[in-house]
Amino acid sequence: MKSYRMHLMLCAGTGCVSNRAFRIREVLETELEKRGLQDEIAVVSTGCNGFCAQGPVMVVQPDGIFYQMLTEKDIPGLVEEHFLKGRPVQRLMFTSPGEKAPVPTMREIGFFGKQRLIALRNRGMIDPEKIDEYIARGGYTAAAKALTSMTPEGIIAEVKRSGLRGRGGAGFPTGRKWEICRGANGRPKHLVCNADEGDPGAFMDRSIIESDPHSVLEGMLIGAKAIGANFGYVYIRHEYPLALERLGKAIKQAREYGLLGEDILGTGFNFDISIHRGAGAFVCGEETSLISSLQGIPPEPRVRPPFPAESGIRGEPTNINNVETWATVPEIINHGAAWFASIGTEASKGTKVFSLVGKVKNTGLVEVPMGITLREIVFDIGGGIDGDKKFKAIQTGGPSGGCIPESLLDLPLDYEMLAEVGSIMGSGGLIVMDEETCMVDLARYFMEFLKDESCGKCTACREGTEVMYKILTKICEGHGSEGDIRLLEELAHAVKDASLCGLGATAPNPVLSTIRYFSNEYEAHIKDKSCPAAVCKALFQFEIDEARCTACGACKKNCPYDAVLGEKKVAHRIISEKCTKCGACFDACRFDAVVKLPNAKKRELAAV
């Protein structure tokens, strides 16, 4: 067992590599051998540590000496002086600014420190409307490698080995899909990029296209070579004007450089991409509906098999992947399958981009390794609940995702674990809720969206979601009855079982998961006619706390229904028969004297 007396941690992140870190490593190893030090001193290539502006960097352990801005010319002198003679080279060391750094580093900030960027590797670093900037950060080198020195089978093998799974939601192994499409009999073959991103509030795909459109084009170029397709479509939702504009510019610039079109990079390979816009239908995010829409046919899902990889557009083999999946592919070709597979969990490799929204302090776009816990996302990255209120639940995967309670926050994020607890990875939406969210109202809210978006083809989905919505509305309005929960569950299972596509199959998730983890709220709504979170208007009252009221009259002045009684120096009172729960008094009061009282609580107090 070799025992090294010194480890040279040489940064091999993108920044340092683009400044010749690999060459420096070669020179370093040669020099160490020349001096007979190769058995005492180990050279270790590490990932990016963040100090990219000072790169190439090298940390000498165990001394902890930080060398920066290294060049190949520096190495012989460095090896002789520091490693042989034991005298660290002052000139090459990092000297910190005069005063101690007053601003924390990106890694120290919770939001950024836990993220690891692969699909978002260029975020904030390039002008997305300048192809040269994408190339400057290593863009199109993976495509060049794939087109000039890899076989289609080799590319597919690499993607399979990486363990990449579709990032659109279903999580199907990408390499396997490419293999099926490559092996399919039909001609010609097509590629599609699904940029419909229908989940309300999700913006992962929009952000990738706005910030780094070429990452998607490069991924598709590699996929085209692997599968044997010469034409690709980007199906982008109509509601993304900026993304559409930047994508259009990117395609135009790629064509000008000959990176799209005929004889790409002089290899004789042809591939081009056209853009198609959606028209506002959530169901078009589903692949067979998308294909119908592309062909100008009303979007409805169809039975599978045959899968699009075998029979898609006009019955020809079509490989559809999500934006994030395409954007990740070049990095797998650049750094290798083993690198990608080293990140994440056993069955879910790599990183995933999430849109973190809701009641957290830091909302935004985060890319984290699979296997990170939900607690880390909510509290370390998200910074905890806004206003320091109490966490209640987090919904993962979009409008048809399940809601996960506090007790399961230490769950490692991966496809299988989420499915086990009744949720889905989905496209990556994460909505955080606090104590002021009513879980029954939430289930109703998403069911309203889903029932509107149901294409109507499958009876169970079309009728089932409608009826479930009506029951939930009834419950929220205070007319729930015994047996409603059981009926909701029955309908939920029927909708799941008898639907052709993912919309129907997952629509019942919010209802099922809220019944599973928050049944007490359903009971309160149905039996007690009370809303514990004080959201459902029929099930709570606005009241004035006499102890806090200063009789300032603000509530009375703002009430549009004359529902507040009170005079100077007399604590004001709300007339519940006239109150419409508009909340104007609640907003107007500066003394927190207007409180929301769930009906059950009000009865409790009255009984005292």
Partner: protein, 127 residues
Amino acid sequence: MPKIKPEDLDKIREKMAKTIGLREGNARAKVTVHMGTCGIAAGARKIMSTLMTALERRPDKDIILTTSGCAGLCSREPMMTVELKGEPPVKYVDVDEKKAEKIFQDHVLAGAVVKEYALAVGSERVG
């Protein structure tokens, strides 16, 4: 524009290093205004105009002003990143026109980080 070959990718990279790369190029400062949909919705275009005007008033030819997409922390937009040669980049958050002016004067021109507006220095983990 001529169609490129694989070797040309390296040439473009080197050319870019000299023009917008602070390390080898002639520029001594690079200011990036983040203009994803989140930034634009929060008012990044005004920040951009403010900085362009401020730059036009100066004779400096070695300051790069550029745009980029969303930096990730959408809730703190508008954001801008200032990178001086030899120093790690600094991310400023919740920027408005007044703050942008101050950051330009104090940090870009005079080299002093405006701590009260800065969120963090350095870069994220990539790869």
